[in-house]
Subunit: 334 residues, 2 copies
């Protein structure tokens, strides 16, 4: 078995491709006295994947670990061992593990607005149409696996929002109807299911994705950057999860000045994270606009949350900020 | 202004009432040179609440804090100050703050199964019917404020599930259809919105709530107990958020033995938390069955996750465990 090496040393970044990408290095797993257990386990997990696909079932990584408890000597003693075999398989087959039937433990992501999701009804096997504009003040909750979903939409863009509170405000005041868009609450760092959903939806509908997060290193580097180009330690699957055509509306450092937003002081950790990103992050290093934005924030020693716009009135974000942003692409970050 | 003192010293527990309840002690906020700012802020927040109700709007606690930045000298300098005033107001008016227009930052809770939620469409002002049995493999995501929702259901019970992975399995295999129930994924410790939703739904529909969480102190004391009787430091609102008629299906210590589940060793923290609960938690101290369950777990020095049932096959939970539980109330915990 030949398996790509999953590590930063085996990764490159090309903005035309849009995500942190595996280079060619591989490791080989051959059958010897030393590797017989891992070899047997890899085959067992492949057989489990085949079984899942055949029976149209799914298993979380944790369930897969517990299933192995009935494999006699081939059972895993700790979950990181089985997780590692599953990660190897997805790298080997060059597909994301959801396509092999292994779904993540966590989901996350709530969707409102001009979108119809077409899913298969688990009870009848027939198509089922879910209208995300008919959820009242609630939303459609993205399932753990989104591979089989289809989409119908006339929306002009997707707005990916950091906090559920901001999402709720935009839903409550029908922003998606005025702006003809789809609102997705990320709920912090987006899960795999949420990222894959946004990626597939934006591909199929061919519409842009705009990020709307807090004006701090966590909102920019942990939330937005993970959404856009993926993460370093999961390079073999970034291809499926990245949203390369995403752009950031804000909150930018310029927004903090322009809208005179109330701020919080930067912590030492924020400053360290900013300097690290400037030095080591291949995505940041490729975009001068991002470098300037982060340097300015460190100079100001301040950060601002997306809710800070409420200083000018609760619905200022709907009446002024978002319309301003839509009209002025020069204020976006890449 | 007379405001109840919100502290454990001013709390009692009566199982017939079903939640940690405020006793009579109050503090008085009078207008003096020292209290003028807090007094003014309390009045300002009351005025904001009135404005929110009048304009049919909502504000998160964080938004309320930022709104105050335009109040001149009455502005809050840190969010904990404004949070505290809002908490005082909900204690003073004896209502939950959602009823005053202040909604939590976080939501959470995904609903599938035999339930129609009736909400008001924010765009048209008309009733909108959301059918939670027509969400495919996805779910209905509970909004931040659930006060105005109405419900229609013929379901026999609500199953409150700790992990989204287990919820996804039960949805995928149509368990709610077989068992005629409503499935709610808590996603860890349930949020206020999720607890209030379960409370209101179970009251209106007059159906029982069964908890299905990991067999450990976190699943029992942090997740299930918070759902059932609320928490100590929010005693003035437990009344609105508790689900006193909830029962725990499992995973119980007896389940770990009976189903021979794969386990993890208890950590020192688990053991300490168990001993603390036995000594100090008024809810645990009132129920001998809970004390026995926790003592047995500490003796076994083991804990088990709900996914551990997968040892006997991925759908053992649907085919055996849950039907067994439904038939045998003697295996439930109070």
């Amino acid at each position: 078995m030949s398996i790509p090496i999953r590590a930063l040393s085996n990764v490159s970044y090309d903005p035309d491709i849009g995500y942190l990408e595996l280079k060619g290095a591989e490791k080989t797993r051959t059958l010897t006295a030393n590797t017989v257990k891992t070899f047997a386990q890899s085959l067992r997990v492949m057989a489990l994947s085949k079984e899942l696909k055949k029976s149209n079932d799914l298993a979380t990584k944790r369930e897969a670990y517990y299933v192995s408890k009935n494999w006699g000597d081939a059972r895993f003693s700790e979950q990181p061992e089985s997780d590692n075999v599953i990660d190897d398989l997805e790298a080997m087959f060059r597909v994301n593990r959801e396509a092999l039937g292994f779904i993540p433990e966590e989901k996350g992501g709530a969707v409102s607005g001009r979108l119809i999701v077409i899913d298969t009804d688990p009870n009848t096997g027939k198509d089922i149409r879910i209208n995300c504009s008919k959820m009242g003040t609630g939303a459609y909750s993205i399932p753990n696996s989104v591979e089989n979903l289809r989409f119908e939409t006339e929306a002009k863009f997707i707005l990916a929002i950091e906090t559920s509170g901001m999402h709720q405000r935009l839903v409550k005041h029908g922003y998606w109807k005025k702006a003809n868009c789809i609102l997705i609450s990320l709920g912090g760092v987006p899960t795999r299911a949420c990222r894959r959903f946004i990626r597939r939806l934006s591909d199929v509908a061919n519409i842009p994705v705009y990020g709307f997060v807090d004006g701090d290193m966590y909102g920019w580097a942990n939330i937005y950057r993970t959404l856009k180009v993926g993460s370093g330690n999961a390079a073999h699957i970034n291809k499926f999860f990245c949203v390369p055509h995403a752009r950031l509306f804000g909150i930018t450092t310029d927004d903090i000045k322009k809208y005179e937003l109330p701020t919080h002081p930067l912590t030492e950790v924020d400053i360290k994270r900013g300097n690290d990103a400037l030095k080591n992050d291949p995505f940041i290093r490729l975009h001068p606009a991002w470098q300037k934005n982060i340097k300015d924030l460190i100079k100001m020693k301040k950060r601002a949350e997306q809710q800070a716009l409420a200083k000018h009135g609760l619905n200022y974000v709907i009446e002024r900020y978002l319309p301003d942003k839509l009209k002025n692409p020069s204020t976006w970050l890449p």
